[in-house]
């Protein structure tokens, strides 16, 4: 289905209160609590600020840059000069972030939420910006990121890369644990078997960087990649049989990894 048509159907369905399980919930895409002017179905209030107040949003957005700076400073033990250069780059990024919010607001404020080209373009631009804010990967075109090779020495760059890898692996580990717990709802694992399975899954090859919505597909893929020999070593035949059923069921979910 065409995206615009699908969006239109979704908007109408939500505005009418929906049916089935959606009925009990607030319409998610149409949350207008962020609006200052009381207008409903206006894309800036609906998509950009929601669910925050307008004045809080800039702090939220720039907080992401400050977190990155504290992370770099905390991991790399910067000297005074390097810390100062990093702060200057962060200030420039914060200014740019504020300008970006302002330009989105200037360009699209008052645009009604409908299927017009401007509305669609505005929603797409805002969604791209919000996605960038809400994921853990470095901001695009960030001065802090571009300055890092100049600010950090080789050892510090290695430290930062190791920290980032460790953080990514913790995200994958959680997803793998969730998959194991899901299997355990049907089949109990006893002794150290669940930790051994976790070890096998974590030994899979994971990409160096991945988006947050790829964690679970990657965990499914790791679950599928545990060899039959490894499974036979950890579990008895009946358990392996249950695991095979789950693997068949989840094969499609693992295939989504980009």
């Amino acid at each position: 289905m065409n995206s615009a048509v699908f969006a239109g159907v979704l908007v109408v369905a939500l505005a009418m209160g929906g049916a089935g399980p959606l009925r009990a919930q607030q319409p998610l895409q149409l949350d207008v609590r962020g609006l200052d002017n009381g207008e409903e179905l206006e894309i800036v209030g609906t998509y950009l600020y929601s669910p925050m107040r307008r004045r809080d949003f800039a702090d939220y957005a720039t907080g992401r840059i400050l977190r990155r700076v504290s992370e770099i400073a905390g991991v790399c033990d910067l000297d005074e000069a390097a810390a100062k250069r990093l702060d200057q780059a962060a200030k420039a990024d914060i200014d740019r972030m504020k300008r970006r919010i302002q330009s989105l607001e200037l360009e699209y404020r008052g645009t009604p939420l409908d299927n017009s080209p401007k509305s669609r373009a505005g929603i797409a631009a805002i969604q791209q910006f919000k996605q960038e804010l809400e994921t853990d990967s470095p901001l695009s075109n960030s001065l802090v990121e571009r300055m890092l090779p100049k600010i950090l020495n080789k050892e510090q760059r290695i430290q930062l890369a190791a920290y980032e890898r460790e953080k990514a692996m913790r995200r994958v580990e959680v997803a793998c644990r969730v998959v194991i717990s899901s299997v355990e709802r049907s089949m109990p694992m006893v002794g150290d078997t669940r930790r051994r399975l976790l070890g096998c899954m974590l030994a899979s090859d994971f990409p160096k960087q991945f988006a947050s919505d790829q964690e679970l597909p990657l965990a499914y893929r790791a679950f599928l990649e545990v060899s039959e020999a490894e499974l036979a070593e950890i579990f008895d035949e009946a358990q392996v049989n249950v695991i095979k059923q789950y693997r068949a069921r989840w094969a499609g979910l693992a295939a989504v990894v980009e």
């Binding site: 995206s3 615009a4 699908f6 969006a7 399980p21 009990a24 919930q25 998610l28 949350d31 929601s50 669910p51 925050m52 809080d56 702090d59 939220y60 907080g63 992401r64 977190r67 504290s70 992370e71 905390g74 669609r120 929603i123 797409a124 631009a125 969604q127 791209q128 996605q131 809400e134 853990d136 953080k167 913790r170 995200r171 580990e173 959680v174 997803a175 644990r177 969730v178 194991i180 717990s181 899901s182 355990e184 709802r185 049907s186 089949m187 109990p188 694992m189 006893v190 002794g191 669940r194 930790r195 947050s212 919505d213 679970l216 597909p217 789950y246 069921r249 989840w250 979910l253 989504v256």
Partner: protein, 274 residues
């Protein structure tokens, strides 16, 4: 971009739905042939599926860790869905709860909220009673040593989930706040301790995983985070809010209410953790 966003959202919903429903389908199919219609607890009721799954898991765990004798195995296998349903019905009749339950459900039939709340209260009661019955039966059938081995396994399963919950929460917090290894570990420990007071760890863990900040008490953060960081966390919680209904929509009404009214604490009648 909009299309990509929608596709991603749809995929996320599909994953969540498949994740939550797959074990339910397995056990609903298993129990379909033994559960008869017309009882208070229906085969399609989530609380029945939950109990049935718990029963099966405990029997399967006992078989693996307790070195059961032939007679013990026979005694435990007697605990099928029908046994559970009969036991619950008898218990309800003795307490007069069946009548009360039916009246509540019928009186609230025109009002979805009242009906669902009434069913939620009954569901919590059923689960408490049934868990106590199952545990009592295990207690009678198994020796002290075997019961200890079974409890140890149940506790290990709960600990794994509590750790996962804590890791998921800390990972999400780290999207906004830098935590060094020491602070991360301290926060993780605090969350694990807090999780030990909850029963439905699977649900809690899964909800925590989905890129949101779970509804953890503020006191957990006060000792680990600075005031500024607590403010950032508040912002992150607000931004996480729209994601939460996606997950809660995936639970059926009764199940969601069981979790909302989750008052089963460790040290309660059962202390069981799934």
């Amino acid at each position: 971009m909009l299309g990509q966003h929608l596709r991603r959202s749809c995929f996320r919903l599909l994953v969540i739905f498949a994740f939550i429903c797959s074990p339910l389908v397995v056990f609903a199919q298993d129990s379909a042939h033994v559960v008869e219609d017309g009882q208070m607890l229906q085969q399609t009721d989530p609380q029945f599926v939950w109990l049935w799954r718990h029963l099966n898991l405990q029997i399967a765990t006992a078989k693996r860790v307790c070195e059961l004798s032939e007679s013990q195995q026979v005694e435990l296998e007697r605990l099928d869905a029908k046994w559970l349903q009969e036991l619950l019905s008898a218990n309800d009749a003795s307490l007069g709860r069946e009548v009360e339950g039916r009246v509540i459900v019928q009186r609230g039939a025109d009002d979805e909220v009242v009906r669902v709340r009434a069913r939620g209260r009954l569901a919590v009661q059923y689960i408490r009673d049934a868990l106590a019955m199952v545990e009592a039966h295990f207690g009678r059938v198994l020796s002290g040593e075997q019961n200890t081995a079974l409890s140890k396994e149940t506790a290990a399963r709960a600990a794994f989930r509590a750790e996962t919950l804590a890791m998921a929460a800390v990972n999400n917090i780290q999207r906004r706040i830098y935590l060094d290894a020491e602070r991360r570990e301290n926060l993780q420990k605090e969350i694990v301790k807090w999780a030990a007071t909850h029963d439905e760890l699977y649900t809690l863990m899964y909800a925590s995983y989905t890129q949101t900040i779970p509804n953890l008490p503020q006191s957990l953060f006060d000792t680990v985070l600075s005031n500024d960081e607590v403010l950032q966390l508040g912002a992150l919680r607000r931004i996480s809010l729209p994601a939460i209904p996606y997950e809660s929509q995936m639970f059926q009404h009764e199940t969601a209410i069981i979790f909302d009214e989750r008052n089963l604490r460790a040290g309660d009648r059962t202390g069981a953790k799934l």
